[in-house]
């Protein structure tokens, strides 16, 4: 027997765990990084779609219409948001991203008729200019918040939390706080910015209702207002958002990305997207607004048209992508592998978005790096990716006999694992067993 068989690694203390203990012992600070949860979690891959057969009638995959549009804010806002596809670009700030990356996101979204979103740091004239439909985030920090930009927005998203860190505030380390970013946020250059996690002038859903009314008053009831929550208690958060007057509720699961957050937060706080969507949908159904007055936007680990279709079958009206959009425009591209390795990482593993030294020129404020990203080419890549997500989702919907993505329903799904069946509230494949169904209304 070879000696190597004596080298047994611990399951409990694997190499990642050992490395993290050693890193912590050396530095005395928790690990801060970008990306989202990296550990194995239940995902939408744990669900399968039940295509049509004898009891269902499919649509012709290449010919028959399958609608993809979504309208948000109809009834309350004078100018509802009308999207051609139900895949939106999630909030990512100028500051965390380079101006070129923001422009690329705008160009890609425009080409496919969907929206982009600002982030913790305000709206830049460039991103307003490059985004036909721009959602303006209203965050606890209120960095750069002003009524002029508020009135330029096509929608306002009140951010209560995000999936990578429900209960936590934003973070932008000093390497990325250059003169312009500092000025936009009214902060000293080079500080490690740790944003507020609570809104400064409202606490709880009763206050939020009044806050939303104020935002509508300031914008003369022109645009829809979303509320974004990190997935922790999505049933209650969704119900309370509806009560507060939201036109859309964005529920961001724990696979959702971040530009910089404590690793312990990313990996251990929140619930997976597959568990969050059905609970949010249940709240909307009970309040009689599902697929109606209030739209549900699901986010957190959306990668493929299959994810889009499954999220919509679970009740979402649209999905939002962040990490996948960055990958589409060039993040973790193998072309930069040598440079990633020089930084102690590798293409496919790079998550140091907080460091500001991104070889791809996306999560950086350094001009020499940011200039590597061609916004037109990157925008085309994003448009192509969005196109594929849409075509894939339509493919699945047509196979289920649906003439619109919104016609997908939980009945079109089955689960591959018992946990997925319990979380998604669909039957385990080949059975009619939904664990916990007896506890549901």
């Amino acid at each position: 027997m070879s000696d190597q068989w004596h080298l047994r690694e611990s399951y409990t203390y694997d190499r990642n765990v050992i490395a993290e203990i050693q890193r912590a012992a050396n530095t005395g600070i928790y690990r801060i990084r970008g990306w989202g949860a990296k550990r194995e979690l239940p995902t939408l891959d744990d669900l399968v779609v039940l295509g049509a057969s004898m009891s269902r009638y499919p649509l012709e995959g290449y010919r028959e219409a399958c609608g993809t549009d979504v309208v948000i804010g109809e009834g309350r806002a004078a100018k509802p948001v009308r999207l051609d596809i139900p895949v939106t670009i999630a909030g990512m700030s100028f500051g965390s991203l380079s101006a070129q990356a923001k422009e690329a996101l705008g160009r890609g979204a425009n080409a496919m008729g969907t929206s982009t979103t600002t982030g913790d740091g305000g709206m830049t004239p460039e991103e307003r200019g490059h985004s036909k439909t721009l959602v303006y985030q209203y965050l606890p920090s209120r960095y750069g918040m002003n009524p002029d930009d508020l009135r330029k927005a096509d929608a306002i998203e009140v951010v209560v939390g995000q999936g990578a860190k429900p209960g936590g505030g934003g973070m932008l380390l000093g390497q990325k706080i250059n003169e312009r970013v500092a000025q936009m946020r009214t902060l000293p250059e080079g500080i490690d910015q740790r944003s507020a996690c609570r809104h400064p002038d409202w606490t709880g859903p009763d206050d939020l209702e009044i806050k939303i009314t104020e935002l509508r008053e300031i914008t003369d009831w022109q645009v829809p207002i979303y509320v974004k929550v990190g997935a922790a208690r999505p049933y209650y958060d969704t119900a309370l958002s509806v009560k507060a007057g939201a036109d859309a509720v964005v529920v961001d699961g724990m696979q959702g990305g971040t530009a910089a957050t404590q690793d312990v937060f990313i990996e251990h706080v929140g619930i997976p997207t597959i568990a969050a969507i059905p609970e949010a949908t249940r709240a909307l159904r009970e309040l009689g607004v599902h697929r109606g007055e209030v739209k549900l936007i699901a986010a957190g680990g959306m990668r493929s048209g299959a994810d889009v279709a499954k999220a919509m079958a679970l009740g979402a009206d649209a999905v939002s992508i962040g990490t996948a959009a960055l990958i589409a425009i060039g993040d973790n591209d193998p072309r930069h592998d040598e440079e990633y390795r020089a930084l102690g990482s590798a293409a496919g593993a790079w998550d140091d978005f907080q460091a500001g030294n991104d070889p791809a020129g996306i999560t950086t404020q350094r001009p020499e790096l940011a200039s590597r990203l061609d916004p037109e080419i990157a925008g085309r890549r994003l448009a192509n990716y969005l196109q594929v997500l849409t075509l894939e989702a339509q493919t699945i919907a047509r196979a289920c006999g649906k003439s619109h993505l919104h016609n997908l329903e939980p009945e079109d799904l089955a689960a591959l694992t018992v946990p997925a069946a319990a979380m998604a509230k669909v039957p385990l494949a080949g059975t009619d067993w939904v664990p916990g169904r007896e506890h549901l209304a």
Binding site: R142, N146, P147, L150, T186, P200, D201, E217
Partner: protein
């Protein structure tokens, strides 16, 4: 006066009032019977003069730009929140988060202000004739908070570059907020703000508070680098001094 337009909120809606204020370029307005309504005179961006007879609810004069708003009464949460410019004055008291996140302009609270007055302020000047509640100027980034009365607990917690002046007592200072000397330049700022606020006080009676700037950056140790640079002696010396720096995370 005939050139003053009156809105009676017993008869007209806040929506009608605000839309009118958003549509005009200037003028004088009187608002009667506000009866605690929310978002009264929110979103003004014109050289108007608005007088409100009575008490208002949340977010009165929210995101105010240019012009003046005067409230003869009290206000609830978020008075003049995220104000950009102009003047907002209240003769009574304001509850929580008065002047929150304000970027500019002058907010005068002649009475008391509740908790979190000037929270996350970003350039606004706030003068309070009475006391301020706990956590006032929390994470305050820029601007000046002047308090003629007392300040409750945790004043200026996690403050950035805003300046605080208090004439009365301070129950306690928040994390990273320290007392600083009052120099001639600060007396000049105080004199100007007191004059513009119309509140009577001697600038020499105030004490000044601001950031110790200890929380601006994470304190990161690197024992391995020290070992590579100078060998174990330096690490031992550091440990003898009381160990590595405290993690600055808040």
């Amino acid at each position: 006066m005939s050139d003053v337009t009156t809105f009676d909120l017993a008869e007209q809606s806040v929506r009608e009032l605000n839309q009118h204020l958003h549509d005009v370029e200037g003028g004088s307005f009187r608002v009667t019977n506000p009866r605690g309504a929310h978002a009264v005179a929110a979103g003004i961006d014109a050289d108007v003069a608005v007088e409100i007879d009575g008490s208002v609810g949340y977010y009165c004069a929210g995101m105010h730009q240019r012009g003046t708003v005067r409230i003869d009464g009290n206000a609830s949460t978020g008075l003049a929140e995220n104000m950009m410019s102009g003047t907002v004055r209240i003769t009574g008291s304001a509850t929580m988060s008065a002047g929150a996140t304000g970027h500019g302009g002058l907010l005068v609270v002649e009475g008391n202000a509740g908790a979190r007055c000037g929270i996350s302020m970003k350039g606004i000047d706030i003068v309070v004739g009475g006391d301020v509640g706990h956590m006032s100027a929390f994470m305050a980034q820029a601007g000046t908070l002047v308090v003629l009365g007392d300040a409750a607990d945790d004043l200026g917690d996690s403050i950035y570059e805003a300046e605080i002046y208090v004439r009365g007592s301070v129950a306690s200072l928040g994390t990273d907020c320290v007392e600083k000397p009052v120099e001639a330049e600060h007396l000049a700022v105080l004199t100007d703000l007191l004059e513009r606020s119309g509140l009577d006080a001697d600038p020499a009676d105030f004490r000044r508070y601001g950031s110790a700037r200890e929380l601006y950056n994470f304190h990161v140790d690197d024992i391995d680098a020290e070992l590579a640079d100078g060998g174990p002696d330096e690490v031992d010396a550091e440990l003898a001094d009381g160990g590595p720096d405290e993690n600055g995370a808040a």
